[in-house]
Subunit: 417 residues, 2 copies
Amino acid sequence: MSIVKAVFVVADGMADVPLKELDGKTPLEAGETPSLNRIAESGICGVVDIVAPGIPPGSDVAHLALLGYDVLEVYSGRGALEAIGSEIDILPNDLALRCNFATVNEEFEVLDRRAGRIENDDAAKLAVALEESLRDDPPEVGGILFKSTIQHRAILRLSGPNLSTMVSDTDPHKIGVKVLKARPLDASSEAHNTAAILNQLNQQFYSVLKSHPVNDERMKKGLLPANTVLFRGIGQLPEIDPLTLLYGIRPAVIAAVPLVRGVCKVAGMHLIPVANATGTYETDVIAKARAAVETLEVHDFVLIHFKATDLASHDGKPRTKVAMIEKLDVLVNVLLNTVDLEDTLIIISSDHTTSTVKREHSGEPVPVAIVGPDVRVDDVDEFGERACAKGGLGRILGKDLMPIIVNLLGKAEKAGS
Amino acid sequence: MSIVKAVFVVADGMADVPLKELDGKTPLEAGETPSLNRIAESGICGVVDIVAPGIPPGSDVAHLALLGYDVLEVYSGRGALEAIGSEIDILPNDLALRCNFATVNEEFEVLDRRAGRIENDDAAKLAVALEESLRDDPPEVGGILFKSTIQHRAILRLSGPNLSTMVSDTDPHKIGVKVLKARPLDASSEAHNTAAILNQLNQQFYSVLKSHPVNDERMKKGLLPANTVLFRGIGQLPEIDPLTLLYGIRPAVIAAVPLVRGVCKVAGMHLIPVANATGTYETDVIAKARAAVETLEVHDFVLIHFKATDLASHDGKPRTKVAMIEKLDVLVNVLLNTVDLEDTLIIISSDHTTSTVKREHSGEPVPVAIVGPDVRVDDVDEFGERACAKGGLGRILGKDLMPIIVNLLGKAEKAGS
């Protein structure tokens, strides 16, 4: 028997509900997707409750589940996962928060949660000023780091004893209301201390930012000033074993989105850089597919993450979502034309349903199709939410998908003897 | 997006097995049910293992599961749930038992478990006599209450320290055998004490009842005397959070059966009284449907319970069960003609299979159909046990149905971010 390898394509938020604009079809059902359909037709299909029936998962939880982890047990907040994916080192006891440069008025009411989607350069300059202020006037904490990543996004990392993730966000998650005070979510001294540090930083960052030349310049140009930083998603690294230890595989990932990169890195996956894989509508799917096939020469499990389907859903654009699904079909076509299905599995799924009606993650299960050697092919011949619900895999949980793949890879460990 | 509401119709014991009398069809398959079929055709179907595959649930456990609770974790006996539904106050640490006025001979052998289905008036008079005897000669317990409810049924409530639910029934659950001694089911002093109290009450109640004028009168009329009280189903309130806290919904229920009312009340549901909703074959289904639609003006989740299907199964009457299913179809027809499926979900299911062959609850899954906005309609076009098994929901657990409904209501909370 030859060695079997796997390409796992995860299309973010691809699953959807029936849409009026598409005559009651989902975007996946409405699109022209000959390659996705070929996978369904030559393989086995099913639907997956990523966490549990009816529960809408976040992308972080969803990817942990798709990689086989029990998220109800291991999930420990988004901040650290996103930080890791942004090339910021996080150690097991560090806390990390997601930060937004934002615009507030003098009453501290949020005018824009993204400071006019501030550009990388301006954000980087402001981040340097904040770092300097942390050196000159440090809060009482073992270690602190603040770093801007993409546009308005940044990461705050806290290290040392007497810290806790049981602290609420300062980000009110909507405009027109005041920036919140961080509150301890339990009675521990650690939670009180962490909340106090965040509230102090909130003041300190505002006083540095409000009079910073970059913001003066922005206002002169009619741009919104980035005069505050909102904190959210405090988290630590999940305590998980790497995939290699759990399943004996050599895993890699092609993903542009920091959060997904972070989850995969924590799971011990090798990050494969691909030029023009951007996580946007313009991402180069042919480059991603070719990179995946190349990666299979040294790794036996490659995950390709595709973000554009989710973006279109959050933007509430059914036809754009259909177009992005058709773009994904091109990626899958390259895979089908390049790999040998006698020794390679292709798995297609999604990390969650994103309803283009609600423009939000939703709790319906996602479709999955698996093609490759030794697969019990069923009679589903179309890749869609409803077609796959009739498939041979039935309705499964997200954490069960990885063991199913590992079994098809011939690497499953026997329970008992 | 408009606010979505839901009507959840639970037909008690509606699901069944194929019956010879109905040419191998189940009652649901044999009935003329255009409205139920319309729900199946315009919606998504599936089958539900209320507790777990193969396990026949009681109505109390079944309703807790259908409301989303993990019954293996929270169930704590039937007595307290039925007491609450009978308008008897039960506090968190109280014990409550279901009681039957019954007829025994001088050897304490049970002749009739329902004392000839004694009428409410006679039972109430006897209950007053028992209450007086408890005042004059109280057992050693913090507090005690005995109250008759409907016909032969009554509730015994015990309060105070040194009590336990780990005690067996005195009801032998069949005739021709002796009334049982209550036995402690673990080694605790609480269980021993509780069993001793019940055994003492058994004697005390018999001595009050055997010579009571009401029973003398009954025997003169040729009626069976209610000369003993059988105890069963000892229980406490389950420790559960109300549905409003769990799901952010404003829930109400229309139900006549005390046990179902009790479960729903403990779940924080508002009880809607409906004249002529009796829990019998004669119940007014049109009044129930209209009351549900009115209730939707102030609540966003209404459960309608329909008991008659279960009664027909326990009575072993296939054709009556078919007639009751057709009566339920009238209820559903009123709903379909009154609500707007653009903003209202209708969910049809059952709390358990009741086999008209065995005349008992049975462990087969029950069918479910959901129609309303954003539902992934499948191609099932008939509401029945076997048709729904091919539906897009697949085979789900009872506790997963509520999260699926809550997701369709747009109120599901995201796991992760």
